[in-house]
């Protein structure tokens, strides 16, 4: 059957099981939009308001569903607007297929209108990318793209397709999914011996600790992780992206690692004798000063990406494998154990944090609301079962510290790149993937304005996304650093914002602003009860700081409670 290259793009997407794409049209992608028009019934296209929103919405979709997200943009500015989202997906291992239009092949290299070398630009922030200039090469390029987005450690890929390739005719037979020949294996063969040795270390440990990262959720290894922790009575601490992979009400959950994580797991990282790190990459926000990180511990590192092994932290043993595979094999050989005293250490330190920070925040009585009070309410009212999509900054740290996640694929956050503006488009993507779950975007007054235009998508698609704006009238996290480390020289962190309620209303979204602690509960109830989108602005204490904190350059056990 003869079809156009553009139709081949659609057929290829359909063959990969895609039913939803986020995009924005323009000159060089017009043939593909024409084909999308024809296929409206088969592929839903969501028109974002800025291409960054398309890339990030596709990430929100991917992170909350485990499927590959797809976004489409035109050449030049359309393509360069995707860049932040692509870089975000690269650092957080999100499977993303980006399709960009390109000027006609005869014009490439002529500085043609809207020509940008997007393949060159995205080389360092994609796992793989390609330019296609012949219609007949399109299906194979898309097949490879979907394969590499998910192969091993997931990540973004980009297929740049010239306008003439989209318009050209080709013979389309059957779509063939990509199967690599002579594939480099991302998963090595492992012998039982290796897992027996690892289990031996764990069985003989006096103070073992599991660090669970993004890889646990990506491999859907949540149940295995619970089994392992329970069988060997090992406490589990999570990274930002590991947080939703272990129930936070589990007795062995000891909290969040890193800069604004919990007191106990940070301090006790430097007392553990054996650390089993699963699907995490010892990011600097987790380790603090590397020279004083877990030096006393024997470290077992499980990661599917071999380049992560010994990259930041030297491991005594490693397994290059996905988390599910590795945990199930370790599980075969671990013995039940009793680490009562060790668990008690966590409890003791947690109580200290609870008294000095958590309880102090939650029970504080003043005329201003505090961020933790709002998050704690939302957490209790949704029983920890919502999808929470924080932005970046204090609101993000508070959201993950106070929301008690009970379900996998529920904490959708920009960890690696720390992209302000992430929350709103990512929440849109998450809601599209999970229409039956409550999806709550949490943002600061700075970050919400970085992609505020995406309210237009909520309006147009009638998406019942809930937006919780924690408005401290500051770029709060930066202000906190200036207060603590720059002698209170508040350089350009004070922002004058619009009337958010009127703004949300202008987009047809119900909105409410609360300033007094007495109104908070009722307003949160109203937001959660709403069947449609709802924008709740909570005016919070202006000068709060997030604690605990490991100051940059300090060791994990130097974490401060105030």
């Amino acid at each position: 059957m003869k079809i156009t290259g553009a139709q081949a793009i659609i057929e290829s997407l359909l063959a990969e099981g895609v039913d939803l794409v986020f995009g924005y049209p323009g000159g060089a992608i017009l043939p593909t939009y024409d084909a999308l028009f024809e296929s409206k019934e088969r592929i839903r296209h969501v028109l974002v308001r800025h291409e960054q929103g398309a890339a990030i919405a596709a990430e929100g979709y991917a992170k909350s569903s485990g499927r590959t997200g797809v976004c489409i943009a035109t050449s030049g500015p359309g393509a360069t607007n995707l860049v932040t989202g692509i870089a975000d997906a690269m650092l957080d291992s999100v499977p993303l297929v980006c399709i960009t239009g390109q000027v006609a092949s005869s014009l490439i290299g002529t500085d043609a209108f809207q020509e940008a070398d997007i393949v060159g630009i995205t080389i360092p922030i994609t796992k793989w990318n390609i330019q296609v200039s012949r219609a007949e090469d399109i299906p194979n390029a898309i097949a490879k793209a979907f394969y590499y987005a998910k192969d091993g450690r997931p990540g973004p890929v980009l297929v740049d397709i010239t306008k003439d390739a989209q318009a050209g005719m080709m013979e389309f037979t059957e779509y063939a999914k990509y199967v690599p020949r002579g594939k480099k294996s991302t998963q090595h063969k492992h012998s039982d011996m290796q897992f027996i040795e690892i289990a031996d270390l764990l069985n003989n440990a006096k103070r073992p600790l599991i660090l669970a990262g993004n890889g646990v959720g990506i491999a859907n290894a949540e149940e295995e992780l619970v089994k392992l922790a329970e069988k060997a009575t090992i406490p589990v601490a999570c990274t930002l992206h590991g947080l939703h992979s272990f129930p936070s009400n589990h007795e062995y959950f000891v909290g969040l690692l890193g800069m604004h994580g919990n007191y106990a797991p940070n301090i006790l990282t430097n007392e553990a004798d054996v650390i089993l790190a699963i699907g995490m990459r010892f990011d600097d926000r987790v380790t603090g000063n590397l020279a004083r990180y877990a030096k006393q511990a024997k470290i077992i590192h499980v990661d599917i990406d071999f380049a992560e092994i010994n990259k930041n932290v030297r491991s005594h043993m490693h397994v290059q494998a996905d988390a599910k595979y590795a945990i199930s094999h370790i599980l075969r050989f671990v013995q039940s154990n009793n680490h009562k005293e060790w668990h008690h250490r966590f409890k003791h330190l947690h109580d200290q944090e609870y008294e000095q920070v958590i309880k102090a925040e939650l029970s504080h009585k003043g005329d201003m609301i505090r961020m933790p009070q709002a998050m704690d309410l939302v957490s209790r009212k949704t029983k920890g079962e919502a999808i929470v999509v924080p932005d970046v900054g204090q609101n993000q740290m508070v959201a993950m510290r106070y929301y008690k996640f009970q379900k996998p694929k529920s904490h959708i956050s920009s960890g690696g790149l720390g992209t302000m503006g992430f929350a709103l488009p990512a929440a849109i993507g998450a809601k599209m993937a999970n229409p039956d779950r409550e999806v709550i975007c949490v943002a600061g007054d700075g970050g919400i304005q970085m992609n505020i235009q995406e309210l237009g998508v909520i309006l147009q698609e009638k998406l019942p996304v809930k937006i919780l704006l924690l408005n401290n009238n500051y770029l709060g996290m930066v202000r906190q650093w200036q207060e603590m480390f720059y002698e209170e020289r508040y350089s350009f962190v004070d922002l004058v914002s619009p009337d958010f309620v009127a703004l949300a209303n202008a987009y047809g979204i119900k909105a409410r602003k609360v300033t007094s602690p007495d109104e908070l509960e009722e307003a949160v109830d109203e937001m959660l009860a709403s069947k449609e989108a709802y924008f709740l602005e909570v005016v919070v204490e202006k000068r709060e700081k997030v604690f605990p904190m490991i100051p940059a350059g300090s060791a994990v056990d130097e974490i401060r409670l105030s």
Partner: protein, 85 residues
């Protein structure tokens, strides 16, 4: 940082593709491993053979090759340290 800057020869075999040189050289600059000499030979077999001489410490070279190995088109990467001659 780069205390013992030994000579290393890194050999890379890739499937021939337009952008692979850019991807490879980008990693060298990102990991601050300066290329002293590089030669590329395109075989009849659709493969390209790179031989790159660098002066750098073992750890940086190891980290770099781990990343090189992740390039989809790369089939093989080897490090030959001058000590082995």
């Amino acid at each position: 940082m780069t205390t013992n800057n030994d000579m290393h020869i890194i050999t890379i075999v890739t499937r021939n593709s337009l952008r692979v040189l850019q991807r490879i050289s980008g990693l060298f600059s990102r990991y601050s491993v300066n290329i002293d000499q590089m030669s590329i030979f395109s075989g009849q077999d659709g493969l390209s053979y790179f031989s790159v001489i660098v002066y750098s410490d073992d750890h940086s070279v190891q980290k770099l090759t781990n990343q090189l190995n992740k390039i989809v088109e790369v089939c093989d990467v080897r490090i030959v340290n001058h000590k082995h001659f």
